[in-house]
Structures are given as C-alpha cells and as structure tokens.
C-alpha cells in the first residue's frame, strides 16, 4: 500500500535556509517554499521523508494530510 500524503511544518526558528531538503526531494519541479525549503502549503503524496532525514538541524516535522474534502451531492 502506498503511504498516505503528508503535510510538513518547518520550525523556522532553527531552519538555516540551506536547501538540503529541496536538494534531496524527488518531487516535481517547484515543490519549494519561498525560503528555499520544501513546500509547506500543500501535501506531499510521495511521503518518502528524505527531507526530514537530511535536515542538518532536524527541524522538519509532518502530519498525515487530512483527506481532501469530498463534495456533498
């Protein structure tokens, strides 16, 4: 079974804007935040968590993304 999508939160106070998380990330082009980190405004459906593993200051965390709202019919 594939992993559920996750959404990241970054502890900005510790982040040194080093871009290592982006460098390791296999997502498509543009999955980045304005602070040279992986995107935090949308879920990641790959959820390999390599970004968390590489972070030199260990400041990336995630929660399982809430399922997309299903339209009421």
């Amino acid at each position: 079974m594939s992993k559920p999508p996750v959404i990241f939160s970054i502890g900005w106070n510790a982040c040194i804007n080093c871009g290592a998380c982006v460098a390791i990330c296999p997502q498509e082009a543009g999955f980045i935040s304005p602070f040279d980190t992986i995107a935090v405004d949308r879920p990641c459906d790959i959820a390999c968590l390599l970004c968390e593993q590489i972070c030199p200051v260990d400041t990336i965390d995630h929660v399982v993304a809430p399922p997309p709202e299903t339209a009421l019919t």
Partner: protein
C-alpha cells in the same frame, strides 16, 4: 508576452552561472543572467576554500574584496588525532609563503563578496543581470528557440533565447523542467553544518578530520576564516547515523581531541547546506538547455568542493556555446546539437571526477568501520599529496 530576446539566459548567478555569462558575453553573445536572491551568496552555504589556480584559470583577479585568508596547505587527521601535514611553506618554501616573492596555494573566500564580484565582472563584460528574478520554467518553440518564464519583483514575464543555462545550484529545478534525471541518492548527499567562531587558532592550513566517530560518511573541518576567526564544520551521511549534523558538530566540539582547542570558541555565524558526494549527472543537456555547476553535480566527490568545478565548468560551457551559436549549425539547439558540451566537459574534467567518484565509493563500501576509517584517511592524504594525480581539481 515576450519582452526580451537573448542568445542565452542563465538561471542562477553563483560561480558557475556568472562565469558562463562573462565568457559568453565577452565573445559577443547577448546574455541575460538572473538570480532570485537579493544578495548573492547569502545565506552562506559554503566554506569558501578554493585554489589560486582555480581562480587564475578563469581570469579572476585575486581581489581583496572577497579574499578572507590565504591558504598554504592541508592537515589531514585520523579519528584519534594523528595528523599528516602537507604544508607548502615547508615543502616548497621558495614558491609558497607569505613573503613578497611567494604566493599562497589558495584562499578562503567570503562567498557573499565572491559571488557579487563574479557577477560584477559578468556585468562589466556586457551581461544583463537581474536580481530578484526567479526562473519558473521553459518551453522549446517550433522555430528552434525557446521561451523562459520568469518572475521579477512579483511580475511574471517571458523572454526568448536560444539556450537556457541551468546554473541554479544544488537545489536545481532547471534540470527537472526538462525532465532530466537529477535526483541525488540519500546515501550521497551530506548534510552539513558549520560555525564561524572567534577564539580558535589556525595556521594557514585547511584541516580535515576523518573518522566515523566524528563525521559518519563525511568529514569534519577547521578552516582559517580571516580576521582571526576560524570555521568549524562537518558533513554527515544521514543513513549512517541516527543523529543530525548539528548533534555531531556539538559532539565534535565538546568531545574530540580538539576539545581543549575549541573550549573558548564563541559562535559568530551559523551556516549549512547539502554537499553531493555523488557522480556527475549522466545527461547534462536537453533541447535548448544545458546544466553546469552544482546543478549538474559537478562537485568533487572526495572533498565536496565545487567552486573550482563550477568556475572551470562555466568556462567550458561558455566556450561550447560561443562556438555553437556563432557557427554554421547555430539554428539547431536541440538536445543532439548540445551534446557536444557534455563531451567537452567530460574530456576536460568529468572523466577525472568519475574516477574520484569510484575512489570515494570504494571507501564507503567498506562495511567494517575501522577499515573504512583507515581507508578514508589514506584516500584523503593521497588526494592532497603534492604528487597526487588530481592536484588540479
């Protein structure tokens, strides 16, 4: 709407992008160089060690503006602190040293000032440079040119060019635009952290500390940083440890054989980044597009150094583009027509980098930690040896 037309558009003004731009403009091509930053080189993600040869090879004046401190050699330590010193002031005192007729082997540079200086030289060679301008994508067109989508101070715009140069560094997205395989393995990207510190003595040498105990998968370093400061840093491979680079740096400073030397250290700056200890990309070109510098993983897989390779790779890319875009086949900028760039790069630099990659892989394939440590110490010592075949990388 297309607002501007150039021969080439370069994404990213690090050492690679600024060098491609400078040589291309000097030979008569029209060049746009864009960088998304407001201040190049910041926040610093680099230790700034570079050989004098690397600067001279691409015609960079040795300017006070960016030089922090001259370097005269290396000291390689094993895990217990036994050192092999390669000090050119002793080995070849008639050539290397601080005196008037002597020269340094290399320098530690301030990347903020260095990157600005490289861009300034490009600008003076005729390059148009735009800061606060982010590359968003590109589209090859039917007539053989391509359009590049940019965002400049919040404004979306499109420019036309013949070739896009992706010099956008380790976080490169340009290769992804073209669907190139740019992914680095987690076992080959070192997570690094470094402190600029006061009250730690240095002696004109780049000090490299090996050993799994201090930096699993990578190494630790102590570099002179000018003004009496030093830099202490390390890089680790995350699959070889449970802990972050920060944890390892803390341990290195408190527990290693240097703990007394570091006892009074005061941290002045915190920096970090990722260093690919990887092979160069197998394909560094696509339709209307080439990659150079960290974006193409042109990084020395033994040392993690990438300034020299970014500079000389930048010149190789410019030489190729000038020849191609001023030649008979200039209308053809398809992938096939740009493949010659990679061949030129392999012949000049790449084949040696592949050799270094295999040497590095041989070290980290050793399962037994003491054997691996001994092997790494030897590989590093041989690499920096005055008779090393890799001296000029």
């Amino acid at each position: 709407m297309i607002t501007h037309k150039y021969d080439i558009v370069v994404i990213g003004s690090g050492p690679a992008g600024a060098t491609v731009s400078r040589f291309a403009a000097r030979a008569g091509l029209s060049v746009l160089l864009v960088d998304k930053k407001q201040e190049l080189g910041a926040p610093i993600q680099c230790s700034g060690a570079v050989s004098r040869h690397a600067l001279e090879e691409v015609g960079l004046p040795l300017a006070e503006e960016y030089i922090l401190e001259p370097i005269y050699g290396f000291a390689i330590y094993d895990q217990a602190g036994k050192a092999k010193k390669i000090d050119y002031r002793r080995l070849k005192g008639e050539v290397y040293g601080p005196g008037p007729d002597r020269k340094p082997l290399g320098y530690v540079v301030d990347r903020r000032r260095f990157d600005r200086y490289c861009m300034m030289l490009a600008e003076r060679a005729g390059v148009e440079t735009w800061l606060k301008t982010e590359g968003l994508g590109y589209t090859p067109a039917a007539d053989g040119s391509c359009t590049v989508q940019l965002r400049r101070y919040n404004q979306l715009l499109e420019v036309r060019c013949r070739v896009v140069v992706g010099a956008d560094g380790l976080m490169s997205q340009v290769g992804k635009w073209a669907g190139l395989q740019t992914h680095i393995k987690i076992t080959e990207l070192a997570g690094c952290l470094q402190f600029i510190v006061d009250r730690v003595e240095t002696d004109g040498l780049l000090e490299i500390i090996t050993g799994h105990e201090w930096a699993p998968g990578g190494y630790a370093w102590v570099f002179p940083k000018g003004n009496g400061y030093a830099e202490i840093g390390l890089g680790v491979i995350s699959t070889m440890t449970e802990h972050s680079a920060q944890w390892h740096l803390d341990k290195f400073m408190r527990q290693s054989f240097f703990k007394d030397r570091f006892a009074a250290a005061r941290i002045l700056e915190v920096q970090g980044g990722g260093v690919p200890l990887a092979a160069p990309l197998r394909t560094q070109y696509a339709d209307n597009l080439i990659l150079v510098g960290d974006a193409a993983r042109h990084v020395n897989p033994i040392t993690g150094g990438g300034i020299h390779t970014a500079l000389s790779g930048g010149k190789i890319a410019a030489d190729f583009l000038v020849k191609h875009l001023q030649g008979a086949e200039r209308e053809d900028c398809s992938a096939g027509a740009l493949a010659g760039y990679q061949s030129a790069w392999l012949a000049a630099l790449g084949d040696k980098m592949w050799k270094l990659y295999h040497a590095k892989t041989a070290v980290f394939h050793q399962e037994d930690i003491p054997t691996r440590d001994a092997y790494l110490f030897k590989t590093m010592s041989d690499y920096f040896d005055p008779n090393s075949e890799y001296k000029k990388i």
